[in-house]
Amino acid sequence: MRITLHVWRQKNSTDTGGMKEYTVDGVSEDMSFLEMLDLVNENLINEGKEPIAFDHDCREGICGTCSLMINGIAHGPDAAITTCQLHMRSFKDGDAIHIEPWRSLAFPVVRDLVVDRSSFDRIVQAGGYVSINAGAAQDANCLPIPKPDSDTSMDAAACIGCGACVASCPNGSAMLFVSAKIGHLAHLPQGQPERYKRARDMVAQMDAEGFGACSNHYECEAVCPKEIPVKFIAKMNRDFFKATMCSES
């Protein structure tokens, strides 16, 4: 296949950057999207040019490092996968593909398609943990947790923190991410003691990082590679209301 790419190139965080066009031949439909970019980069290196910088690590859809806005959709056209799991068979010969980095005040571009997502880390540091001593690993079933609760908790815990929710949100809101991080603990007994303080502090950090406010477009749910539903945002809001209205700390 022959593919034309329009890629965002930006030298560093202070550079203004712009779109550049590349043509790449010999793309196989079995290649992953990132392998196609590897091919482009090999060609660029052979020509003595700077390769395109992009984030990746596991390349098996579990780490949340890869990103990319592909033809205007976070993680590309196929639902419920990350960019590293997207394959070139989803495109056809002669296609033009637009690639841009995540766009958010809280995700500054480091270089080309690489953005700094440490704002997510700071949100988790603000309360996305259990600070009580939960002891050593217990025997199975020693701590009874109803199946619906553990399932819901696991649904939220599937979040890999890639930031596609922010990238796709017309408001640049991080609420799906934050609600998933609050939600997976809110459904487990270990998460209860700090539940409301956690909701309050993580939301405060989310706002301080400069993320936008959700207006319920549900674009985040549509692009989430882990299909995390927006019901967690509703749950987070409930916890936040309780935290601000009822809690004493």
């Binding site: 205007g72 400069g210 936008g212 207006s215 936040f240 601000t244």
Partner: protein
């Protein structure tokens, strides 16, 4: 956490917008149902208007509450919009919407249009400043208060006025079709089992309000009610 800090947070501002939204939706429905009495004839509408007028100080309290609600709704919208605009200083050259609709994307514009229309509507029918010179404030011969019925019928005899009202109604209903469903999610009511119903209740209520509110100016203009 103080109430002020809460209201300025992303979720707090959204909650304020949602709660004030509920009050405003209830007002829109009550306003429509009251006005639909125009179809019951002059006596019914004038009697209703007279009852409202004779509430005296209570009427002013209701007006004040509504105005405060409206201001709070607009203020919280401003907080939310400011956050969202600031959140993406460099926009995409290409971004595709997958699920959101026209109504959700145009909430700001539809909100501004509705706000401007409210000003016009109050100047038109409540104070009679615009365009109502002859029939505004005319009293009924039997001392039953203002002849509101006549004012409504005459007010909608100008096609331009009627068009403005119809367009504003369409924009209002666009705003409500997203707003009503959206506020339920914001306030935390939406879950797996009711999501489909909640997503429908906004558009359905909006269409009911659209039909109800369009029927009056159109009936008056076409002579269905005289």
């Amino acid at each position: 956490m103080s109430l002020g800090t809460t209201m300025k947070s992303s979720i707090g501002a959204k909650a304020l917008m949602a709660i004030t939204g509920i009050i405003l939706v209830l007002f829109v429905i009550g306003h429509m149902v009251g006005n639909l009495q125009v179809f019951l004839g002059p006596d019914a509408l004038n009697q209703y208007a007279h009852t409202l007028q004779s509430l005296g100080p209570i009427l002013w309290i209701i007006r004040l509450v509504l105005l405060t609600t409206l201001v709070a709704h607009i203020w919280s919208a401003a907080v939310v919009v400011r956050m969202s605009v600031a959140a993406r200083p460099v926009d995409y050259q290409k971004r595709k919407d997958l699920t959101t609709g026209f109504a959700a994307r145009t909430m700001l514009v539809s909100g501004i249009v509705v706000a401007l229309f409210i000003v016009y509507h109050v100047l038109h029918f409540t104070t009679g400043t615009i365009d109502m010179a002859e029939s505004y404030g005319q009293m009924l011969p039997d001392g039953g208060g203002h002849d509101v019925y006549k004012m409504v019928i005459e007010g909608f005899q100008h096609p331009l006025t009627t068009i403005v009202y119809c367009l504003a109604t369409v924009v209002l209903c666009l705003h409500l079709s997203h707003g009503i469903s959206s506020l339920m999610q914001t306030l935390g009511f939406r879950n797996d089992s009711n999501a489909a119903r909640i997503d429908k209740v906004g558009p359905v209520l909006a269409i009911i309000i659209l039909i109800g509110n369009l029927s009056m100016p159109i009936a008056a203009l076409t002579g269905l009610i005289k």
